[in-house]
């Protein structure tokens, strides 16, 4: 496939000096207000966009929000696996392992200050394969969109790791999409969701309590 070296991109690229710029306008527009509920209990607050420049405090809020989403997914795949077989079971096992690794990554960056991690109970919501697959699709699409919405709000040192996690969420979304016959890549540029939109989508799907 990839053969021996010969050609190079004409024109190439160079690394120039650092360029200063103003982030305020962008961040004021992109930071989001909202909250996330798990099992009917408020488990994390979301910041208003007033102090929107990337900061350690803002990192903590974003990573806490992401940890809640990862833990929700871990619980979802653990509880759903019993009803599955074949490729759906493989999907749940592979993705479940990835979500646990994501949660560990986020916990490590939160330095133990993860707050109440909560519990998630899905009950009959995911007790058959068809329902599980539909909910898994919604969950993966929602988490992918949530991370697209937050990646640029992190401080620079966290963006790389968060990007490596985000792309895997997108792979998971594409995989379950293909399994259930939906377009795995429906957009040329993927949409973002605000934290509020994420909460609404998960509540509407009965994956979060009211």
């Amino acid at each position: 496939m990839w053969g021996p070296s010969e050609a190079r991109f004409p024109g190439g690229w160079t690394v120039g000096e650092r360029v200063g710029h103003t982030r305020g306008d962008f961040l004021r527009r992109t930071l989001i207000a909202g909250g996330i509920l798990g099992g009917g209990a408020l488990i994390g607050a979301w910041p208003e966009g007033a102090d929107s420049a990337p900061s350690a405090k803002q990192d903590h809020r974003i990573l806490t929000f992401a940890l809640r989403l990862e833990l929700l997914q871990v619980a979802f795949y653990e509880q759903g696996a019993a009803a599955l077989q074949g490729e759906l079971l493989e999907f749940a096992e592979v993705v479940g392992r990835a979500e646990r690794a994501h949660a560990d990554f986020l916990r490590s960056h939160l330095g133990g200050e993860t707050g109440n991690e909560g519990r998630f109970e899905f009950g009959d919501t995911i007790r058959n394969a068809k329902t599980f697959a539909a909910k898994a699709h919604l969950l993966e699409e929602t988490v992918t969109a949530a991370y697209i919405g937050q990646g640029a709000n992190l401080t620079a040192s966290l963006i790389a790791g968060f990007g490596e996690l985000t792309s895997v969420e997108a792979r998971q979304a594409a995989w379950i999409s293909d399994i259930i016959g939906k377009n795995p890549a429906p957009h040329a540029a993927d949409p973002a969701m605000t934290a509020g939109e994420v909460v609404t989508a998960l509540r509407d799907a009965a994956l979060l309590g009211q």
Partner: protein, 232 residues
């Protein structure tokens, strides 16, 4: 199956709206639309090309120039596979995959070219060395190319100075990751390689692309001149 149109891949009209908006709408209007439509790439690139070049003359522009060259590579690869009839010989599901990826990469080329304006590099000539001729080779190369693009964009995201562009990189790296996963699934391999995709920097990607010898001073040879819809 008929050729994919931009309308088919751009269900919410965001790309088309954004391309027009680059030259018409105010920056605020575009941000508002981006928030509603979630089109971070367009929000990031809002404003006419001259404005982008003026505010980001060095590293970010250089990175996007590299990105455009890579998008040229991808879009030409998929376009050529359609032109030589390889996609037409695929089953319906596989052909839809190939056409969707081609349409996406051509859309990416169109957007980045408009944004870079006069700073956009010219399209190189490519020679894919037979990898567009058969479904098997095309698929294997597509999997490698999409995995590499995901690694490239993941590597780019933290290096960009302008947070608009960081947001854009996120909205694109997930698309490329979807392409990679979709390609892997169709090829019968697990779509998720590991819990974290490994990023690559520009040097690493440049070396890998160079190793393919896909960049050629010769014009690529194809058996037909038919252009797929929406060629950027």
């Amino acid at each position: 199956m008929s050729d994919l149109t931009l309308e088919q891949i751009d269900e919410d009209g965001a790309i088309q709206e954004g391309i027009a908006a680059l030259y018409g709408d105010t920056r605020a209007d575009l941000f508002r639309k981006a928030a509603l439509g979630g089109t971070a790439i367009l929000a990031a690139l809002a404003g006419p090309p001259a404005a982008f070049a003026a505010r980001s003359k060095t590293r970010d522009v250089a990175i996007f120039q590299f990105g455009l060259n890579f998008e040229y590579l991808q879009s030409t690869f998929y376009t050529e596979a359609e032109q030589v009839g390889t996609v037409a010989r695929m089953n319906r599901q596989k052909a839809f995959w190939a056409k969707t990826l081609g349409a996406h990469e051509r859309a990416h080329v169109a957007i980045i070219k408009k944004v870079l304006g006069s700073a956009a590099p010219k399209k190189p000539s490519f020679n894919f060395r037979g990898n567009t001729d058969t479904e098997s080779q095309f698929t294997k190369t597509a999997v490698a190319m999409e995995d590499l693009t995901t690694a490239l964009l993941t590597g780019i995201a933290p290096t960009l100075e302008d947070r608009h562009l960081t947001a854009a990189a996120f909205s694109l790296l997930t698309v490329e990751a979807r392409h990679a996963a979709w390609a892997r699934h169709l090829a019968g391999v697990v779509p998720i390689v590991r819990a974290f995709d490994r990023r690559k920097n520009l040097d690493e990607v440049d070396r890998i692309v160079a190793s393919t010898r896909f960049i050629s001073s010769l014009r690529p040879k194809t058996t037909t001149k038919r252009r797929p819809r929406y060629t950027g």
